[in-house]
């Protein structure tokens, strides 16, 4: 029977690859694949390919714990064991669902009524999960390749990750089976949680009590730097009874931190023993997982269908009760407001004016506290820099996150076209909600970050008035700028529908990643072009007004001019896209 499962896995994989290769005949996938491959080459593989295997071999031959500060490896193992302990503890406290295994609907339809024992079904699931775990381990190694200071070599690290992820996967499955058994014995999830939390509390309190009587608190020398901190707390984690509790977790972690081949092989034997014990635990548990697995497969299939059709909102749990309207909707008025009203109801009571006012009040309170208590200027400045940096990042990336609105528009195309509305009205209705939400977040970020800008090194030269009026000006610019940025994905969808990731695209892969990179690059270029008129006119206005009326007036006038130009560009773009929307024939634009 195992051969049937292997046949299914390998044939599916082969066909999947063949289909990917076949679709490279379409230019959008071919260019995507080229860009994606180039990205992977330059960011991950270039050094490996150029250095060749000689580098790996050299590293393998010379890698010792000397790469690490002396003797730090075992301490890192203890920290890893602690993290694993916390992750495992959550598996016993948080979940409340029934025992289930992840199967697809096709697997349920073919395998569940088939003449297969339950143990073989479990083996199939475990076998299949191995593929995903191996791929995950490979990508983790690619991403954290720079952690070669740990010693060992990439292959050992990959196997180490595989051991950790596989054991965790087995533990989660075994824990879900045991939870189900406890439930059948009458132990309600809440009681089980109380028991698990009580056990954890006893362990933590006992450890703290023991530490207080046997371990000296950290001295200044212990806290002098990262290395001394790691040594001190590593010692604490290795001392009994904490060391005993973490010992089984350390066995799983140890192969990853092994510094050389001998240490790796030595560590691998007990790690495999832990895995084998988990496997025995999973396969021996006599638990009915089938029904919950069928439900899980159905929900998963619904999610996949929803995501492919662009309806990400359908992936959330359905609301169990009606949600209050954010404001009364008049029967007449600007149509976009009706779209906003509908979307705010869907988003729930968090997205309300009062929530934003509460946040704003809290931020103002923070600034008052910071000024009155003379908060360290460095901290204040750091908060400002980090916050404004996050705001800038959100400004660029936020509209990309909101691209699902475009997919939603495509999936509801017939419905939207059926409304007695002009194209620009539909477009403004689709755009208004993300504009309002993103602009509100940006305003809060600005409110949090701007007052501290005067504390930063370069910002110290700025007068309070300039910072204040400058912030107000930026706040004025943000809504039309956000609208403009959000319009770009809509424009791309309406003018290059076949190139945009939509319901017609299936699966991921390097080519889809490349498509996203191409889109992002195009997005930045179009954005810079759109910003150019506003920047030039704003700069010109600032220059003239500065000469006539001073710096503060220049700041005010330039930002007002900038926001007016951006607003005009946005309005023109919405009108233009609206015209395109009215003539757009989805059936003839998308590939069949």
């Amino acid at each position: 029977m195992t051969s049937a499962f292997l046949y299914l896995q390998f044939t599916s994989l082969k066909n999947r690859l063949l289909e990917r290769i076949k679709r490279l005949k379409q230019p959008k996938y071919l260019f995507g694949a080229i860009v994606g491959a180039a990205y992977f080459y330059f960011f991950f593989f270039r050094k490996v390919i150029r250095g060749g295997l000689s580098e790996v071999a050299h590293h393998h031959a010379t890698a010792t714990t000397a790469d690490l500060p002396s003797g730090l490896g075992p301490y890192l193992t203890s920290f890893g064991a602690l993290i694993l302990f916390v992750v495992v503890a959550f598996a016993w406290i948080i979940p409340s669902g029934r025992a289930s295994l992840q199967f697809t609907e096709a697997e349920v339809a073919f395998l569940f009524p088939a003449p297969i024992t339950r143990k073989r079904l479990i083996n199939f699931k475990l076998l299949r999960s191995q593929f995903a775990i191996l791929v995950s381990a490979f990508f983790i190694i690619l991403v954290v390749r720079r952690m070669s200071f740990l010693g060992g070599n990439p292959l050992m690290h990959a196997v180490g990750w595989w051991v950790i992820l596989s054991t965790l996967s087995l533990h989660f499955t075994a824990a879900s089976f045991t939870r189900e058994q406890l439930l059948s014995l009458g132990l309600h999830p809440n009681r089980r949680r109380i028991l698990a939390v009580s056990f954890l509390a006893v362990v933590i309190c006992g450890s703290i009590w023991w530490l207080r009587s046997h371990v000296a608190p950290p001295s200044n020398a212990d806290l002098a730097g990262p290395e001394t901190i790691v040594r001190y707390f590593g010692n604490v984690l290795q001392s009994p009874p904490i060391g005993w509790i973490l010992a089984p977790f350390a066995l799983v972690i140890r192969p990853y931190f092994a510094a050389d081949l001998a240490a790796f092989l030595t560590a691998l034997i007990p790690a495999f023993a832990v895995m084998a014990a988990h496997y025995w635990w999973v396969t021996r548990a006599d638990v009915s997982f089938e029904e919950a697995s069928i439900d899980r497969a159905r929900k998963q299939a619904e999610r996949i269908t929803a995501v492919r059709s662009g309806n990400w909102q359908a992936t959330r749990d359905r609301p169990k009760q009606s949600r209050p309207a954010p404001f009364p909707l008049a029967a007449r008025g600007w149509v976009a407001v009706a779209f906003l009203w509908k979307n705010l109801i869907a988003l729930g009571p968090f997205f309300r004016v009062r929530t934003w006012l509460l946040f704003a009040t809290a931020i103002v309170g923070f600034h008052v506290w910071a000024q009155t208590t003379s908060l360290d200027h460095k901290i204040y400045a750091a908060i400002s820099v980090v916050t404004l940096g996050a705001g800038a990042w959100l400004l660029v990336v936020g509209p990309m996150f909101m691209r699902h609105n475009v997919r939603l528009m495509i999936s509801h195309f017939d419905l939207l076209k059926g409304y007695p509305l002009r194209g620009w009205q539909v477009l403004s209705g689709s755009l208004i909600s993300p504009i309002v939400i993103l602009a509100a977040i940006e305003w809060l970020i600005l409110l949090l970050g701007a007052p501290g800008i005067g504390m930063t090194g370069r910002g110290a030269a700025l007068a309070t008035g300039i910072v204040g009026f400058g912030s107000l000006g930026i706040a004025l610019i943000l809504p039309p700028l956000t609208g403009l940025m959000l319009s770009i994905p809509f424009a791309a969808t309406l003018y290059f529908p076949a190139w945009i990731d939509n319901s017609a695209s299936r699966g991921g892969g390097i080519e889809v990643m490349g498509q996203r990179l191409i889109f992002f690059a195009a997005y930045i270029v179009v954005l810079l072009i759109a910003l150019l008129p506003a920047a030039l006119c704003g700069a010109l206005a600032a220059f003239i007004v500065h000469w006539l009326a001073g710096i503060i007036s220049a700041v005010i006038v330039s930002t007002v001019v900038g926001s007016i130009i951006l607003g005009a560009e946005f309005a023109a773009l919405v009108w233009w896209l609206g015209e395109r929307f009215e003539q757009f024939d989805l059936s003839s634009e998308l590939p069949r």
């Binding site: 029977m1 051969s3 049937a4 046949y7 299914l8 044939t11 599916s12 994989l13 066909n15 999947r16 289909e19 697809t104 609907e105 096709a106 697997e107 349920v108 339809a109 073919f110 395998l111 569940f112 009524p113 088939a114 003449p115 297969i116 024992t117 009915s288 089938e290 029904e291 069928i294 299939a301 299936r506």
Partner: protein
């Protein structure tokens, strides 16, 4: 061929199916009907061995499902309401995979005529994504027939089919019954049951309201008048939906 005795399925305090017993002999088609939540799906899942019953026994071809699920399931084909197929297996590879699951050594010789019979001989190398809804349903049928099942269960088999597909599906069911299979057909389409089934079992709230041949069940609920299965269903379940006046629209 299908023998269900005292089947009960409980979920905690809730009883989904209560003390259900019936038999389906070779050549018989038993229609399983009931309102939503009557326990039809739970009954089918227990019969197919997908979930264990709380009490009671099910025998397929004389083999008790709980005692020897693998041998019992070898005689079974289960057709779900939606054709759920492996996205990256071709038509031919689906049959190959199913044959391997059921240990059908002569599958290649059997698969050709089955596909030809279902007018799919030229679709062997296609993936499910390239098939129409009706073609997917046909592939599901082909997969179900490759191991010569003696017990066949259909769950809402006409969902999403066009008139041609509906006729084909009815023909398949009738032919399988003629060939000696014991069939259970679960559906809300009472006209389908009336046309295809020899027997009927009406469920409500997990309990049996009526069962027997179509004529027996009709006679039980009629006072001499000529009742349709729809009339019988509403009388058996005590449902009054058919007599409710249509809603008044503004």
């Amino acid at each position: 061929m299908i023998e269900v005795t005292g089947l009960t399925k409980r979920y905690g305090e809730f009883t989904a199916v209560h003390d259900l017993s019936f038999n389906v002999q070779p050549g018989e088609v038993m229609g399983l009907v009931g309102p939503n939540g009557a326990g039809k799906t739970t009954t089918l899942r227990c019969i197919t061995g997908i979930i264990p019953p709380t009490e009671g026994k099910t025998h397929l071809g004389g083999i008790e499902v709980a005692a020897d699920p693998v041998a019992a399931k070898r005689q079974l084909a289960f057709f779900p309401d939606e054709p759920r197929l492996f996205e990256y297996l071709t038509v031919w590879q689906h049959l190959n995979f199913v044959a391997r699951l059921y240990g059908v050594t002569d599958w290649a010789e059997r698969a050709g005529p089955i596909l030809a019979d279902l007018e799919m001989a030229d679709k062997k190398e296609l993936l499910p994504g390239e098939l129409s809804r009706g073609m997917k349903q046909k592939l599901t049928i082909a997969c179900g027939l490759i191991h010569r099942p003696k017990v066949i269960i259909f769950d809402e088999p006409l969902t999403g089919l066009d008139p041609g597909g509906i006729r084909r599906m009815k023909d398949v069911m009738k032919r399988l019954a003629r060939d000696g299979a014991a069939i259970i057909l679960s559906s809300h389409l009472l006209s389908l049951l009336e046309e295809v089934c020899t027997h009927v079992l009406i469920l409500k709230d997990g309990g049996k309201m009526a069962d027997g041949t179509m004529a027996e069940v009709r006679n039980r609920f009629s006072n001499g008048e000529n009742l349709s299965l729809e009339d019988v269903f509403f009388r058996a379940t005590g449902d009054t939906e058919n007599s409710a006046p249509p809603p008044v629209l503004p």
